[in-house]
Subunit: 246 residues, 2 copies
Amino acid sequence: MDDETAPQKGTVTQRAIERIKAMIGEGRLEPGQRLPTERDLAVQLGISRSSMREAIRALTVLGVLEARHGSGIYVTQLEAGDLLETFGVVADLSRGPQLVELLAIRRILESTATALAAARITPDQLAEVEKHLAAMNATDDPEEILAHDLAFHREIAAAAGNETMAAILEGLSSRTFRARVWRGYQEEGAFARTRREHAAIHRALAARDPEAARAAAAAHVGEVEQWLRAQLGPQDRPRARSSAAT
Amino acid sequence: MDDETAPQKGTVTQRAIERIKAMIGEGRLEPGQRLPTERDLAVQLGISRSSMREAIRALTVLGVLEARHGSGIYVTQLEAGDLLETFGVVADLSRGPQLVELLAIRRILESTATALAAARITPDQLAEVEKHLAAMNATDDPEEILAHDLAFHREIAAAAGNETMAAILEGLSSRTFRARVWRGYQEEGAFARTRREHAAIHRALAARDPEAARAAAAAHVGEVEQWLRAQLGPQDRPRARSSAAT
DNA sequence: CTGCTCATAGTGGTCCGACCACCTGGCTGG
DNA sequence: CCAGCCAGGTGGTCGGACCACTATGAGCAG
């Protein structure tokens, strides 16, 4: 039953990763399904358990597999949230100009999501948004503000109806990412401005006005984007396309 | 629900991953820099080489580290292309409604990128775009058409000047992803329409008209999006492994 | 009969030590 | 001086042992 067409490309572990990915892609492994044990899988693919474990670990961090100690290995639901969890790593490790680019992407997606939300949001969801808006304005604790700020935008993204987009925005708003950028931003007394912008977003949502919502969200993220761009400007040297920077 | 600063949080491997990620985030490890050997790292973190290897493998698939057999382990340049390579996995493993959501995101980003490109594209880049456009129209081989189609959009994304966005679009246009969707789409005689849309995009770029470019690109991707949405509509629950519709 | 406890088998998690495949850089010999 | 060889170091692979945890069901108390 073993098809001997060993192409000998790359490491055994890499091949094992591809094999399992292919199995899922071909539908031979359904979401939520349990896989054979590590030991069995290793035998099936003709590799050692160590190598198989590395492959499983890799697919685990990618959000494709989930290992439960003492129980077994399972395929995740393969939903946007599972697979895009790694997107946070990008946000966490990006620096300088790349951070600005990420913020630009967030501006584009967030403005679109907010516009969609304005057209689709339910009264319940709107109430939830208002709850976080009020909570955000009722405290001075930066930690709490940040938490409600995140929830505010998360709720809006969810109301947009595109789970994948919401998952990406979630990654672009990870705590560490916002903490790194927001810290300096808010230290410049941007609280008042942030409040106004949040109020404007909420107004547009309540008015079911997609275009106003798009504009308000774009301005909101754009403010931070421009601030960050200015922060980088002073120490900015003319970077050529060469990647020899160290 | 909140994880405290417990000394023994998750698995040792998971902790090692976080440790290394933190080292990079704090700047203690610069892009391109070489890490200590697996054996030394294992000793430093007080874990076995096996566990350390799993951590390294995980960071390798995330595009953070790069292992060179016989040479050592290095930090990647941490550029968009490195870190967003995993984005292709999302596109490859998504199915059904999630595929539509991904196309919606591509429509949003691609239209914005094309609009930006219309304002910034250089004559050289425009010539490159035209080259792929001509090559695409000069052949009937689907493989070749697909290749030039990809290059056409890649060149435009590059001209937009946001490498991160280009990397995401690259992931959303991976060969397997497009092969899965485009195949059925093009089988319905959409070649002519695709040609018209590509021509419209190029016209807008040559005219340096961002709004026209945005509209043309949005329509281009939107066509496929609507087609795919229609494909999913008729069937009630296409959850099983449908070998025909893959 | 019901409900609980707990022994146990099976699973993933960790560690160790050995060996292989590959790259690098210094050394040798021309 | 240079080309080629060679030895050391590196990541890659393997097999086995043991630990930590879970799930199951047999057996006991109620």
